[in-house]
């Protein structure tokens, strides 16, 4: 992998990355009507973020075997979409990546998840540090209603007891990157509950950016939103992709095609969910290797 030299590099490269993103974002906006808008980020061209690797991951809820033997490699700085019909284990899978899976009573898992080569399930690991590095955006926007917009964005710092030199700069940076700054800059002191659903979701994205994660997991982030807000969030994803590794679960195949470099197809055929196929997104949609993938992406079931 040629991408690993990055995380300790200086901010000059950061800026370069940011400029590049603006370009890719605008070009992707131009192509947004084409569903198969691919190859925006060929592997290796982006150098931010961290690699994440799942090896032989199984998941159980009590005796119910929900996910079987998933091995997936997420290169640094790429966007991977997980698609598949409901109940195929996509959400369960990404929740094993940042150890949110274990919050469900009786949940169990097997296998390894390697963040920069280190197993996040290794004995003695501080789970809170793992979740700081692997952020998550949920299906339903869930800002903290008792906090203001500004407090919401910075809440992660407070929760993880991180110190930061200039809170105002960080606040603005996160909101800009999440594409929300213009809409809320005059009412940072207002309560978050007054925002629309799409704005709340972008606020949640800004909130997860504030703790500088290397990987961002998104569990159907647009499923509760209208098409306009969905497009805004896809822009945000495109913009973020240069600086972190993104894994997004989606039911919307057009969305997978629009935002991702790689797509993995999950399916449960009665038994536990499995990953059927993973490939660059254009291949999954144009010439899938597996018949079941082809049936799904061509809309024959699901």
């Amino acid at each position: 992998m040629t991408t690993e030299n990055s995380s300790n590099e200086n901010s000059a490269e950061n800026q370069e990355g940011a400029e590049m993103t603006t370009e890719t974002a605008s070009s992707s906006l131009a192509n947004i009507s084409q569903a198969h808008n691919l190859g925006k980020r060929a592997p290796g061209t982006h150098v931010m973020g961290s690699g994440l690797e799942a090896r032989g991951v199984h998941a159980w809820f009590g005796k119910h075997h929900a996910l079987s033997n998933v091995s997936l490699d997420f290169s640094a700085g790429t966007v991977t979409a997980l698609i598949g019909p409901s109940g195929c284990g996509k959400s369960t899978f990404i929740r094993t990546l940042n150890r949110m899976h274990e919050f469900i009573p009786s949940a169990a898992m097997a296998g390894e998840v390697l963040l920069d080569g280190k197993d996040v399930y290794a004995a003695g690991t501080d789970v809170t540090k793992i979740r700081l590095q692997i952020g998550m955006v949920f299906q339903k926007p869930n800002p903290f209603p008792s906090m203001t917009i500004g407090e919401n964005v910075l809440s992660g710092l407070k929760l993880a007891q991180l110190k930061v030199d200039n809170k105002d700069d960080l606040l603005e940076e996160c909101l800009v990157r999440a594409g929300l700054w213009k809409e809320v800059k005059d009412r940072l002191g207002a309560h978050a509950g007054g925002l629309s659903g799409g704005q709340q979701q972008r606020l949640c994205i800004a909130r997860s950016l504030a703790v500088k994660p290397k990987v961002l997991l998104m569990d159907e982030p647009c499923s509760a939103l209208d098409p306009g807000s969905t497009l805004r969030i896809e822009d945000t994803i495109n913009e973020l992709a240069s600086s972190m590794t993104i894994i997004i679960v989606t039911h919307n195949m057009q969305q997978a095609a629009r935002v991702s470099d790689y797509t993995a197809f999950f399916l449960s055929e009665g038994g536990p969910g499995q990953m059927i196929e993973v490939a660059p997104t254009n291949e999954i949609f144009s010439r899938p290797r597996d018949k079941r993938t082809e049936n799904y992406v061509s809309g024959r079931f699901g």
Partner: protein, 327 residues
């Protein structure tokens, strides 16, 4: 099309009527009747106390609330009364403050443990124990407080006095720390734990899961989640629970009567062994009271009734308001 819409007359809403069956009507009547009983009984008690006590409030005036003395003097020309429940009101407030200051944090900690930390089996067991505490006869708390808690609490009181006597409330006119409002408050603290804990436990358990997960996903510790999500969500419920506890502390009779040295003297010193509360005073005086003194006790009861009503209405108000603004 549009013209027909404009010309069409706007109908008035139709009355929605149903004709319930006789059995349904009877059932409804019975349930309504019983449902109103609680209100009826409460109103009747309030009326009874006010009617019987009003004479005292008339003759003793506003001083009934502020005077520290309770004197019945026999003279040749008849009996004169000089009565006030000021000392008792003061004691009620002091004991209740001690009970809340000690009992509410304990209850919150217990509720947090039961909701977020206790393993399932221990949880069920502990919840039933806490509920049992609520059903425990209060005289037993009083006896335990007198024989077991008091020796220890007296020692604590001496310690507090030694180091904090420069704070007026912790000073004492004499070196006498037994049977003090402090100790009565400690007993009451234990007695309000069940109600406060169970209310707090219920609101904590209702914290929306998505907010809890959001905090965890940001790399929060469990304590961080409790501070950032659970407390803001549950605060109004906890306040409501504390007010219910306060209601109990105001009205508690037997336990206070057992522990406290009831004296008609204005005592602001919480550690000093003198005090009283309205409810226990009524019990103390009831046996020997005759004539106007009985009426005075009923007047005191009426004041207690009003206080309790006020606290509970306040609790409702706070809970409803915070619920509206908070989430």
């Amino acid at each position: 099309m549009s013209t027909t819409l404009e010309t069409a007359p706007i109908p008035t809403p139709r009355a929605l009527t149903t004709n319930p069956r006789t059995s349904d009507k009877i059932f409804r009547g019975v349930v309504t009747g019983f449902g109103m009983t609680a209100l009826l009984i409460l109103t009747l008690i309030g009326l009874f106390l006010s009617v019987r006590g009003i004479q005292t409030l008339h003759t003793q005036g506003f001083g009934f609330l502020t005077r520290y003395s309770w004197e019945v003097t026999q003279t040749d020309s008849g009996t004169t009364y000089n009565m006030g429940i000021g000392a008792m009101l003061l004691g009620t407030v002091m004991i209740s403050i001690v009970a809340l200051v000690v009992g509410v944090p304990l209850s919150i900690a217990m509720a947090l443990f039961l909701t977020f930390y206790a393993p399932a089996r221990i949880k069920t067991f502990l919840v039933s124990i806490v509920d049992l505490m609520a059903a425990f006869p209060s005289v037993l708390f009083g006896l335990w407080g007198f024989f077991v808690l008091m020796p220890m609490a007296t020692y604590w009181a001496k310690l507090i006095f030694k180091y904090l006597h420069w704070i007026p409330a912790f000073n004492a006119p004499q070196y006498f720390f037994e049977r003090s409002p402090f100790i009565a408050g400690l007993v009451l603290a234990i007695m309000i734990i069940p109600i406060v804990t169970s209310v707090a436990r219920e609101v904590f358990a209702q914290t929306p899961l998505d907010r809890i997960q959001a905090a965890y996903a940001l790399g929060s510790t469990k304590w961080g989640v409790i501070k950032a999500v659970v407390f803001p969500f549950g605060s109004s419920g906890v306040v409501g629970g504390a007010m219910l506890g306060l209601g109990r502390a105001f009205g508690e009779t037997v336990a206070v009567y057992t522990v406290l040295n009831i004296v008609f003297k204005g005592n602001f010193h919480v550690l000093y062994g003198a005090g009283g509360n309205v409810a226990s005073m009524i019990i103390l005086k009831w046996g020997e009271a005759t004539g106007d003194e009985t009426t005075a006790l009923l007047a005191a009861g009426f004041i207690l009734f009003l206080l309790t009503l006020l606290v509970n209405l306040g609790a409702n108000f706070i809970v409803r308001n915070t619920l509206k603004s908070g989430k």
